[in-house]
Structure formats: C-alpha cells, structure tokens
Symmetry: C2
Subunit: 276 residues, 2 copies
C-alpha cells in the first residue's frame, strides 16, 4: 500500500479524458494533474522540444512526490517516454502502448488506422508499439495526421458541417484501406467521436486509449504493491496549469465529465515550475 | 544615422508578412527576428501569459542591441504594448495602432470589421485604438474571433471548400452589419485573403496591418534620426526561433515571399533565451 499521489501529465486539458477513466478505475488514488496550457499544443512542435517540455513537467510532479506517472498526452508519449523511463525512478505509463494494445485486441482483419497530431504521426510511435506487441503476422497500419481536429474540438464544433467535411477529407483514405479498428491517438478526439464514426462508417471500431491506460496503471500499481489504501473520504485531487483562461472551466468539465477540483497556476522560472 | 539592428517579434512565423513590408520600405535596415515557435500560438492564451512571454522576447532582442522594436503579433500588441513601452528605452511599434489607422483612412461609411484570434478580440485593443484615433463621430466596430483561420492557414488549405465554409460561418454576421472595411487582425490572415474577400463580398476593403506598420516604423526612425545609412551590401538579417520544425522553411518562405536568412534556435533557460 502506498498513499502517495499519482501524477498525470498532459500538454493541456485533453488529458482529463484519461483522468475520467483513472477516477473510475482507481477511485482511492489521489491525483496530481499538470497541464502545460501556456505552451500547448505540443502536436505541432519538434520532438526535441516536446521531450524537453515533458521532462520539465515530470520533474515538477516528482517534486510533489508522485509514486507513478501517467503521460496522458499522445505527442509527449510518442517522443518522451524513453527519456522519462531513463530519468525517473517511478513507473511511467503512456497512452500509446495502451492504445496499441487495445487496437490489437479489437481488430479482426489486422488492418489498423491511427489518427493523431502531426507530431504523433511523424514519430511512428504507434507503428513501433504495434510491431512490438503484435502476436500475429500481417498487421497493417494506416496513419493519418488530423491537425484541424484539435482546434475544431476546442471551437466546440463537435457536430458542425465543417467538422463533417474535414473528417471526410482526412478519413476517406483510411476508410478506403478497409481498416476495422481506428485508434483515436489524441486526447481531444473522443469528443469528436460521432463525426469520426460517421466518416469511417459504422463497422469500424474506435479505440480511445483512456480506458486501456487506466487499466495498465491499475495493473502496474497492483504488481508493485503501490495501490492506495481504501479511503474513508474521497481523495483530494490537485490540478496545476501553466496558464489559466476564463473559458477553461467549462471546457475542462466537458472533458472530465464532472466538477473540477481547485486549479493552481504555475510558471516556469529559474529552471523549475513554481506556483504564482 | 544609426546602424544598430531593428528587432521584430512574433509568436511564430506569421510576422514574416510584416518583415516582407519592412524589407521593402526599409531596405537598408538590418533585422533581428524572434519567433516564439516553442510556445505558439499566443491567441488562445491569457493576457497575463501573453504579456510575460512578450517581455521575455523583447529582453532577448534588447540584449542584441536593437534600436527599435516592431511587435508583429496582433495578440502580443493587444496585451503587451503598455508594459513594453514602460520597460524598454527604445521606440516600440505594434501592428494594432497601424491597422486601426489604416482602417480609419479606408472607411467611407464608418463601419469597420475586425477579425483576429480569441485573445486579440477579447482584449478590445482595436476598439480602443480606433476610439483614440478617430477624427469623426459615429464609427461602428464589429469584431469577430476566427480561431480556425490560423490552423487552416497552417494546414495550407488556403482555397479549400472547408475554409470557404468556415469563412462564411464567421463572416456572414460581419457582412450583414454592412462594414465597408475589414481589418485582418492576425498576421496569418493575409494568406487567406481570397476566401475572406469572397465571404464578405467584393465591395469590402481588406486592411492588412503590415504595410501601415512598416510605414509607422519608417516615420518613427526618421523622426528620431535612427535610420541606417545606405548600405553598400544588402544587410545581413538574423532569425531566432525557439523551436525548429522541418516544415518551417517552406511555410516561412511563403509568408516572407523570398528566401530565408539562416535560422538560429534559442531555448528559455535560467530566465533568459540562450542559443543552443
């Protein structure tokens, strides 16, 4: 048993869709969430910058004595996981490995689609994870960067004609390749699930990595004897953000599906994140 | 006469559309451009964060001994100009004052439209600049945030059906108000000018602040005796960016309209920007 908190990192607030699953599957764990809202998005930046930013965030969460880290951002998982595993003395779970595992469980015809940010898709991290995990031959992967999906989700155009048109433009080639499973390789995409489903057709199974990531963390905590003791009171979670926008609360609660804990703002100063 | 360089700041590379005008109107000036590509976009962030980032960039350019500063980013101009004017001992020109002045010169019916990022529009900086500069009564301003225009421009969908639909959605209310002049209040928007023009109709005059900003800087340098002496060789410009993406050169040259000078990458470390 271990009552230290569990760290969750994302470039912004999309990672709250993963938090939602963590709260459901690990209700006794106290969570510390860090969203780098001052420097988001990561998905349009270089792998080197994404890795540096992610290491800085992990260091901050480790200063708060976390016992394990969930990297809820696909782009950060794609680039920074090896560097994190090397520099941190605690278990680190990313969304990509879990997403790839869930997709391999779901597929029947062995044809997988992966959609994500430009940075995630260029990294080929899903391809490598699938190759590593596949227990069968002849797995085919079709990846497609969908850079307009994040701004469309943030604009709130979840069922807008424009979003339908963009989804058709991005996903028609994926559909034509005959994939039976599509990984939503970005934490923003689940809120566009209806339109994405429509564009790929009803027979394609959509895989959101949140569920698998929470399960992987639960198994890892169990294996290492790190689960929190059953709490008499609901645990007190904390949310740290590097920038705070007025509209943040509404959007966040849409991602999280419930009321938010208090938010604390931090700035990057003298080589560390400090509260302001 | 003063041969120190002229600083240009933008959150990314959109400010190169302003550089293009500076090169044309001030061909003897040596330019130092800083684009904060690691932390862009600014247009979705809080005024407080935008101001802090802008002051950090200005400090970096001042360390390189600039004689004057062009803030080519509308969002940074909207929030940080008073703080810059207070903390810097050199002339500072933003794009908003110049854009507002150009719009007032262009309008006949006194009905102005302004489009920009969410942050620029919320700041009401154009409204305040127009009120300050207007020499007539009955100026009406209709502002509209167009957050999808930047990602659409970066996706390169400058004449795509999706962009037409988005432009119609954002701009129909502006058109219906009967504006005769529309300020492109974001450095990315000029590359969507065709689609924007189509959405507001052929009789509306589009105002891009780049031209007016370069003119304002030229007048200011003249007034203060700060113009560079006529050069025998073309001046050697420098570009500093905080993140470097592979696709950067192509996009930048589209914005700049010519070949780029060499690019130097800087990181924010120990409270300052340092070369890596």
């Amino acid at each position: 048993m271990n009552s230290r908190p569990l760290g969750v990192f994302d470039s912004g607030i999309g990672g709250l869709t993963v938090v939602r699953e963590l709260l459901r599957q690990l209700p006794d764990e106290r969570l510390l969430y860090f969203g780098d809202t001052a420097r988001l998005p990561y998905g349009t930046k270089s792998g080197e910058t994404v890795t540096r930013f992610t290491l800085e965030a992990a260091e901050f969460l480790c200063e708060h004595n976390i016992k394990a880290l969930v990297v809820a951002c696909n782009t950060a998982s794609a680039y920074a996981l090896p560097a994190l595993a090397e520099s941190l003395p605690i278990p680190v779970i990313g969304v990509i490995e879990s997403g790839a595992a869930a997709a391999l469980e779901a597929t029947k015809n062995g044809k997988l689609g992966v959609i994500g940010t430009s940075a995630t898709v260029s990294s080929r991290a899903y391809d490598r994870a699938v190759e590593r995990l596949a227990r069968r031959e002849n797995i085919e992967i079709m990846s497609k960067a969908c850079p307009l999906f994040v701004p469309l989700a943030e604009e709130g155009w979840t069922h807008h004609e424009v979003t339908r048109l963009v989804a058709r433009e991005y996903l028609t080639p994926v559909r034509e390749r005959g994939v039976d499973t599509l990984v939503l390789g970005c934490t923003h995409y689940p809120i566009l699930a209806d339109v994405i489903q429509e564009a790929v057709g009803p027979s394609v199974r959509l895989v959101d990595a949140g569920h698998g990531t929470a399960r992987a963390m639960r198994e890892r905590l169990d294996a290492e004897g790190l689960r929190a003791p059953a709490a008499a009171q609901p645990p007190e979670h904390r949310i740290f953000l590097s920038d705070l926008l007025p509209a943040f609360r509404t959007t966040s609660e849409r991602f999280l599906g419930q009321e938010l804990p208090p938010v604390e703002v931090v700035h990057w100063k003298d080589e560390r994140w400090v509260r302001v």
